[in-house]
């Protein structure tokens, strides 16, 4: 049955460890394997989509010579993704999601690594803290740049409007105001479309995917970083209904990524492992949220609750460090440059984030708690509908060609600004209360109103979002009419849904907070009115606004603890603890009726094989075994394998890992990665060479090549003589790979895979130990997806409660 072939003298591991000169060994690749497992007719279907789809595209790429010996330079370009995605660049949504690949969180424990290891652990740990500090400083600085640019953009536009209106005509003023906005949006759109398509949207789902162990090309490289930063400034300044918070998370992660593979940083050598990278990305994401909301702990908890799948205690501490520094840098920069106070001066740094809320009354009645719950439930329902709408728009109205994408940005931003002016015209001019003017000066927008007045709807829709939110949360009780609140609420929702899917960097935190607080203020008026027969009960409108905003956030992003802490830290009102807890609970309960959270929907839509910590419902059926979900087209090697066999396997499959089998019994004794094999072949690390001249160093082995384009094989330039040589894979393979019995439950395989952050899980026969298949991320993801989409939805949503 097995093609054991010529020489049965394959040595066992102990002999391999001794590195005696090895002769003989197995000669044939174990591809005759499939014959003894019953491969179903549609066996090829078990090969993940991504693997098969890539193959046809690669021959189009002309074979270029790659210097396999320049490993640092090559690995770098690999992680920067400059090479791999050239051919798939212009596919759907500018982001070739199919090219995703798993990361290797586990370090390779091979005989070779055991001998070669011993780099300084202490210096690495210190360096990690230094890098965490740099990430914090970087994120804080970029957050400040965004903050100050958007501030001056709004101020300048306001002045332009004022000058035009006074000197020429209102129509020209509106035209100029709108024109600047459209131009800014066009700049953001052009940068995103033509330079870095991965900078589109919030980008939080890329961070989630990376932390889940999925490599997404170009998502975190330098060009995406600068485009995201610059285009975020332009897009937020343009007046589109978007915010900079989500993009800051992406920026934080991208900054973190620069430190782990930067050409000039010299850090690259220290942090080669994917686990280190994920550590820094957690810290960067935490720093992003921390700077956005002035909430370092909230940022860490967001990174923990929303973005991360695997989390270590050390990650928490380093993320908190980065987040604190980012918040501090932003607060200090604001204090020094914007508020003009020197560092030694008295400063509270009370609301150090981008979102600043004034001080307001923090009392409420216990009897109001049910109203808070009802408001939270309503916000949850609306969040669910908004999420569904965004996904609907994204599914049906995403242009495929670049010029159309840019045109969409221009048209939508034009439509929005026309809508804003139109709705503003439906509003009233309100006299400014003298004491209040200074507090909300940036928020109140005069438009066509008389001196000393401002447009109530115009101020909400056309103002700088930071100031508008502070105004809606903190303005005095009678500042807004129900009519203005409901009208601006509806307009905000519509413009949010229109803007969410444009090809610009777009965060939804800000607009979500805005519509939530608008609805909350409206609810406060309704509650006060309906309670008035009961006596003179003065409800606190700020509490309703805060509950509405928190519920909207919780409903859209499905976070619990992190949202409450972000709001508590950002607003500084711990007296509102119970209302906020009710807001989060109500919104989560209500919104889950409408399916998964926005990020989860984005992951699904982007076809990112994201594995949740909890097994999906499809795998909870005990009758589904590990064998049912595994890929059965296993290509395996022997410990001593012929070069031609390795080359053939590399060329004919796109597998990233190959099990090494024992000569007898086909037991898995190790797993070797594609990138390891490519390094071995490119360095001509044959048994014969290796014994005489051990040319390899361990770090080269641990990084290595990850490209699965088969043209790489051709570039190896193996001669026929070399093809007859053999490689001692037993020395380099990862020892004791994870395995599971074929008749074990699929859910157990899922748990094993996710808890241990595996990339390959061998499925073996319980009785004999022979290999029967391999489970990868794609297999588990496909198995989970094999139930229909609606069922999948109920799984995602029910995971909120279970």
């Amino acid at each position: 049955m097995t093609s054991d072939g010529a020489a049965p003298t394959t040595p066992n591991e102990d002999e391999l460890a001794l590195r005696e000169p090895l002769v003989g060994g197995a000669t044939a690749i174990e591809s005759g394997y499939d014959s003894d497992v019953d491969v179903p007719a549609d066996a090829s279907a078990s090969v993940p989509e991504a693997r098969r789809e890539e193959e046809p595209t690669t021959p189009a790429t002309p074979p270029r010579r790659v210097n396999f010996r320049g490993f640092t330079a090559r690995t770098q370009s690999l992680y920067l993704g400059t090479e791999r995605t050239l051919s798939t660049q212009t596919t759907d949504s500018g982001a070739p999601e199919d090219a995703v690949e798993s990361l290797d969180f586990a370090d390779v424990d091979s005989h070779w690594a055991r001998r070669a290891r011993g780099r300084g652990v202490f210096s690495k740990v210190s360096a990690k803290w230094i890098v965490a500090a740099f990430i914090g400083v970087g994120v804080g600085t970029i957050a400040f740049l965004i903050d100050v640019s958007v501030l001056y953009a709004y101020r300048g536009r306001g002045k332009l409007f004022e000058v035009c209106r006074r000197r020429v005509h209102l129509a020209l003023a509106m035209f100029a105001y709108g024109g600047v906005g459209v131009a800014l949006a066009a700049i953001a759109g052009a940068l995103t479309t033509y330079v870095a398509p991965r900078a589109k949207g919030a980008g939080v789902h890329y961070v989630m995917a990376m932390l889940n162990g999925i490599y997404i090309p170009k998502a975190f490289d330098a060009s995406t970083l600068w485009v995201k930063a610059v285009a975020t400034i332009a897009a937020v300044s343009s007046g589109l209904m978007i915010g900079p918070e989500g993009p800051l998370v992406h920026v934080g992660a991208a900054i973190a990524m620069q430190f782990t593979h930067g050409a000039s940083s010299g850090m690259a050598d220290l942090f080669q492992s994917d686990l280190d990278r994920s550590d820094f990305i957690s810290a960067g994401a935490a720093a992003g949220i921390a700077a956005a909301f002035g909430a370092p702990i909230g940022g860490v908890l967001f990174s923990l609750e929303e973005a991360s799948t695997f989390w270590r205690e050390s990650t928490t501490r380093r993320a908190l460090f980065s987040a604190s520094i980012a918040t501090f840098v932003l607060a200090l920069a604001r204090a020094v440059f914007l508020e003009g106070s020197a560092a030694s001066e008295h400063t509270q740094m009370k609301n150090p984030g981008l979102l600043r809320v004034g001080d307001f009354d923090s009392t409420y009645f216990l009897i109001e708690l049910p109203f808070y719950a009802a408001l939270a439930g309503t916000c949850g329902v609306i969040s669910g509908i908004v999420t569904k709408s965004i996904i609907f728009v994204s599914t049906n109205y995403t242009p495929q060609r670049n010029e159309r994408r840019l045109a969409q940005v221009v048209l939508v931003s034009l439509a929005c600004v026309v809508m804003f002016f139109g709705v503003a015209a439906a509003g009233k001019c309100v006299t400014e209360t003298p004491g209040e003017v200074s507090r909300w000066s940036e928020a109140s927008i005069r438009l066509w109103c008389a001196e000393g007045e401002y447009a109530d709807l115009g101020s909400i829709l056309l103002g700088n979002k930071n100031d508008v939110i502070a105004w809606v949360l903190g303005s005095p009780a009678k500042a807004h009419t129900l009519h203005a609140l409901l009208l601006s609420f509806a307009t905000t929702l519509i413009s949010l849904i229109m803007a969410a899917n444009l090809f610009v960097p777009a965060g939804l935190f800000m607009p979500t907070i805005l519509w939530g607080s608008l609805l909350g203020r409206a609810a406060a008026i309704v509650v006060e009115h309906s309670l008035s027969p009961l006596g003179d009960l003065r409800v606190n409108p700020h509490a309703y606004a805060l509950v509405g905003a928190t519920a909207a956030l919780a409903g859209t992003f499905r976070a619990t603890i992190s949202v409450v802490i972000i709001v508590l830290e950002g607003v500084g009102k711990s007296a509102f603890l119970f209302p906020l807890l009710i807001a989060v609970a109500g919104a989560n309960l209500a919104s889950r009726l409408f399916g998964a959270s926005l990020y989860e929907e984005q992951l699904v839509r982007s076809k990112i094989p994201f594995l949740h910590a909890k097994p999906p419902k499809a795998l909870l059926d005990d009758s589904i075994t590990a064998f049912d979900v595994c890929a059965r087209d296993v290509v395996a090697f022997k410990a001593i394998e012929k070069v031609s066999a390795i080359e053939e396997a590399l060329a004919q499959t796109t597998h990233n890992g190959f099990p090494i089998l024992s000569a007898k019994g086909k037991r898995v004794i190790g797993v070797i990665l594609r990138k390891q094999l490519l390094v071995l072949l490119s360095r001509r690390a044959f048994v014969e060479n290796l014994v005489h001249a051990p040319v390899l160093n361990s770090s080269a082995m641990e990084e290595g090549h990850d490209d699965d384009s088969s043209s790489i094989i051709a570039r190896l330039g193996l001669t026929d003589v070399e093809r007859e040589r053999r490689c001692d894979l037993g020395v380099f393979m990862a020892l004791s790979p994870a395995s599971i019995a074929a008749d074990a439950r699929a859910r157990d395989a899922y748990v094993l895979f996710t808890r241990l952050s595996l990339r390959h899980l061998c499925v073996v026969d319980a009785a004999t130990g022979a290999i029967r298949g391999i489970i990868t991320r794609h297999d588990l993801f496909d198995a989970a997806e094999s139930v229909d989409r609606s069922l999948h939805h109920s799984v995602s949503s029910s995971s909120i409660l279970l």
Copy 2:
């Protein structure tokens, strides 16, 4: 080599699943196994201490008849621990720590379970939320009872002092005051010593152990619960330098435990698995901290950061639910019963916890941040010294006999009260500021002072800790002299170290916060004095007090995020975010020079085999393999095993799990638990009976007996005829047990074991798959401990930074 014996017709799993009438099968227990692995001379040393030490004690217990068919009642008494620890009750420290045992977090996936399963999942989930609500209500109620009892105890004692002083003499007043305190301490001591020794101390380390997967007898049963609640009231009221916060965590966990095995609750059937139990214990612990500090999110984060090892998203949400309810119940009860406001009235519930802090100035200068860091570092150093001192006292001055323990409680409380009065006499009488009297009325204690005055040191040392801490944190700038602060700081430290190890329930949060804030206030005076040459800089003493308190907490308990959130939620001063972050970082950095945290030291001292998520340093050496750390005296069965063999194995070993081996090749095909075997034998579930009358139901199989006393075997009353029968273990064994190659790194085995929450990890030969050993919690713990204690310390402490 193998004793395959008579009939080699052992069926494979598929046949077992079909449950055809089985005849033949293996006849001999595979104890001849050890012969083909090279057992070293000291092989018996690899049997964990606990297993061996228990055996000699059991013959002392007279064989009692246990009704094996009354499973509910029996399991209950098992988990209540009434039976198991009778014989070991009076050993060291009243707590037979050796009797600890691992929990089964994994559900048993056997052929039997696959067919029998299908209980309603939905109802279970709903019931979990209801139980979480009850846990919250229970913890909130007990927290309120503690709060109100302590309040009235202090008030009553104060009145008694006042009456005696005025009517008779100061000496009698002091005598009466001290006498009541000593009597209360004696009550707490007597209850703890004679009724529930596990109620001693904070009990947080029991919660940590339980959540780590270690069952500690009697730690969470009903008697411990009520003793802990009552004795905490008595002990805190007695005036000892202890607080109720830690005990509330233990109480919360114990309340949670009542719901999972309560006789009357009817819930017991729903929540049989150890995983469910750990879920509720997390929620209970979170609710305890939440009620103590009025910090629901802080409670959840404390439970996550400090107490838990394994954590699921669903646990977070349920714990937050319990914690919110507990906080709300306490706040509502206080509002209604203590502050006299009806529920409909206007209430802020601003500081809803036991610890209440008034409103105070929240400004600080940026230039002060270095001083905060220095203060935090000092607090960290002191925390480290305090921890070491407590451990020293506990190691050297723990009486073994009950009467001595009680005497220690009486003498120490007497010494403390004498010391407090003595130090108070060294203080001054201070005139009360009229406006301040009402705010700190409970804190200011008059003693021998004139009307309208209070004793400065006496108030700090003899007052109700809640009020004293609120006073020290919030009192006006000139309220305390440096002399009074330093003297009370020193007295607090000494009395804290004296009281920490008494046989009473004793939490250290309160006294730690007290000394931290006292030192902070003192630091504020010193800083103001030393900065005065630079100009008129008015430092904020409240900020220093808060930083000192936070740093003291962080240094003692080594938490980061949870401490900051607890303080932020409890005090409601988010403006202090940066000082608090500096406090936590500085204290953690400084205190780690002095070894592990207090809880870790308690775990080590209690010999609880706690496994941290991070592999210990001893196992980081790549040359240590899984085989090096495993137990090699494996006793295994065949799928069809003779009853006499099973009985013999149960009687002669204390193993809790037995691998089932394939007939050929000795591959592990399953693992069966001791408790399953006992149920099988007691129900006479032999192959012959089973085929004709399947008497078992699945739930009985899943719980089952956990007692490893060999006298149980005798009580089974097996006849010689029955001993010749066979059991079909293949049907009931857990399929596809976790296994690892013998030459895999020990650290990988550790990670596998902890990440998957295993109880048994089979070590198999990489090449053949034959079993070579088993790794249990004790093996990993012993391997980690085999390096010397000082090295272990540096591991624990370095894990703070790494």
